[in-house]
Symmetry: C2
Amino acid sequence: MPKPGPGLRLIDVAHRAGVSLATASRALAGRQGVSQEVADRVRQVADELGYVANPFARTLAGGASTTVGLIVHQVDDPYFAEIAGGVIGLADERRLLVQICHSGRDPDHELRQIRHLIAQRAGIIIIAGSGYHDPRVEAEAAAVLAGYQRGGGRVAVIGRHTLGADAVLPDNEAGGHAVTAHLLGLGHRRIAVVAGASGLNTVVDRLAGVASALREHGLSLDDLPVVHTGFVREGGRTATERILAEHPSTTAIIALNDAMAMGVLAMLRERGIGVPSRMSVTGFDDVSVAADLAPSLTTVRLPMTAMGRTALELALQPPAARPRRRPTGHQLIVRDSTGPAPGQSR
Amino acid sequence: MPKPGPGLRLIDVAHRAGVSLATASRALAGRQGVSQEVADRVRQVADELGYVANPFARTLAGGASTTVGLIVHQVDDPYFAEIAGGVIGLADERRLLVQICHSGRDPDHELRQIRHLIAQRAGIIIIAGSGYHDPRVEAEAAAVLAGYQRGGGRVAVIGRHTLGADAVLPDNEAGGHAVTAHLLGLGHRRIAVVAGASGLNTVVDRLAGVASALREHGLSLDDLPVVHTGFVREGGRTATERILAEHPSTTAIIALNDAMAMGVLAMLRERGIGVPSRMSVTGFDDVSVAADLAPSLTTVRLPMTAMGRTALELALQPPAARPRRRPTGHQLIVRDSTGPAPGQSR
DNA sequence: TTGAAAGCGCTAACAT
DNA sequence: ATGTTAGCGCTTTCAA
């Protein structure tokens, strides 16, 4: 790949402002040891000339890196797109650049991306998306990130808690509880769960919430069909197909994210099964299209954009003695995809 | 922001291999002037030690940059999310890192982002999203990019043609024609158009396609209500509100992108207006949720993910004498949101 | 074919 | 408060 042409250098700004290189550097970095007057002049000259520091020189010289690495499963998954939007929005305000990589929900690939970002000297790394339930898989990533943090790198994660870093924690368990309680309140008892891979923490946590709500009604998750497939739309379709075949008396399907719920709805539509008249369906996340689906989706709202912002905010703060935790809160959004269980007189 | 810790340096590798810094550099860069034997040894030592070059030092010293700058309107707009997915997918394969910025459809902000990416020494810049119909607005961006390209930077754009760079060109006009012809074929004559800002090239081009189809049926765009609002979901809602108030006999609404079409559908639902029984609705883009809407959306499919890949492919090739152009093709996808005009006996 | 040395543009000691 | 200077790790002339 080619290299861009040369540009304005700090020394040019310094000359124009009639000061030394060092003074100009201090002035622009907002460091101490420059009179207000001189600092203002330097900044003004820099603005006039349209000076932008060369980040490579700056970083090489030991300065701070201004790039943020962001690892998501896939940016074209609406859940991650919204998180990315939040990160980029705040980064823009702070004049930071965001480098995005895909993990593809593959722990090895994720680890490779982490290493790549570290090699690129990203000053901050944000990892969004479920961790893996297997501790051994998480261990290597944790070790690499620990080294990175020891060297001064900052890390924030969204939706995982085993990585020894500041974390934004979605209300997975409480949300799972809320949505299940909602269905139980509508009289549903023959409930099926459509879940992503059982190795994903997010899946495990949301399932735990489902289980706890069931227990409160004297039911057990063990008695319900739980189908684990891909944590994406297509997974919802195939899971629904199986549920329909193996548990035809099911009256409600809990999908553990909105993408899967969309697949569930699509399959029910194909089969001509009315929602919510014959089958209630719930999602999780409240991606922005959830309100526009047919029918509009009852789901648990997570503030994805804010979660992205918060993660970057955490990373921009100096590290705390112990990793910080920021729960996100959640909100049950009841729309048209859920209704009373068939045969219920309410 | 903090700086990551020090690492292995090239000089360490050189010492271990018993050669000079320069030789080690040549060997690892695969340049000429090193004996096969020495080159192999150096590479082996580097591998053993797990050496990864410091990209800041490399770039500062005049080496190639391995980062790709990508400017989109908003990553959490599904259209751009899919394009970004395509770019990142190919970048991952080529071990490049992608820096994403938002333009927010603001030409000034876009220009600022371009400058920022150039300052960051991105080797490639990809700009996705409509250009601006006003030549003066485009001129400054074009000038900056020309300078960047003269310095060896590579540029590819998606959906604009006035920037003097390799371009991926969506079939906007042909798509606009196709969707309009579809409605005319269903007997619709009282058609309204819901468009984004009239300053956007994409809007102008799609509108031109609509106009040409109308002309073939002896109609003129001038006789139809064309409402220009934000090129997003909310714009579709407000535009529909106005159309309903001012042109109550309308039987079909052409939205110039899917986001607006979703807003149109939402407003019609609120008002209890049946689709397609009382009003047909069309979109443009075929974002992945279009099939799951209520009702599923008739629209024009553009291969967004492939467009992202293609743009990066173009940029990775050496520049051609004249900017390359890659039309995308399109496909009319007829779903449930369009039907015969009311009162038609077909 | 190889090595020595001069920067790339900036920050951060160290002087003044 | 300001200036001088030594690197940061690499690529790239220029010599040998």
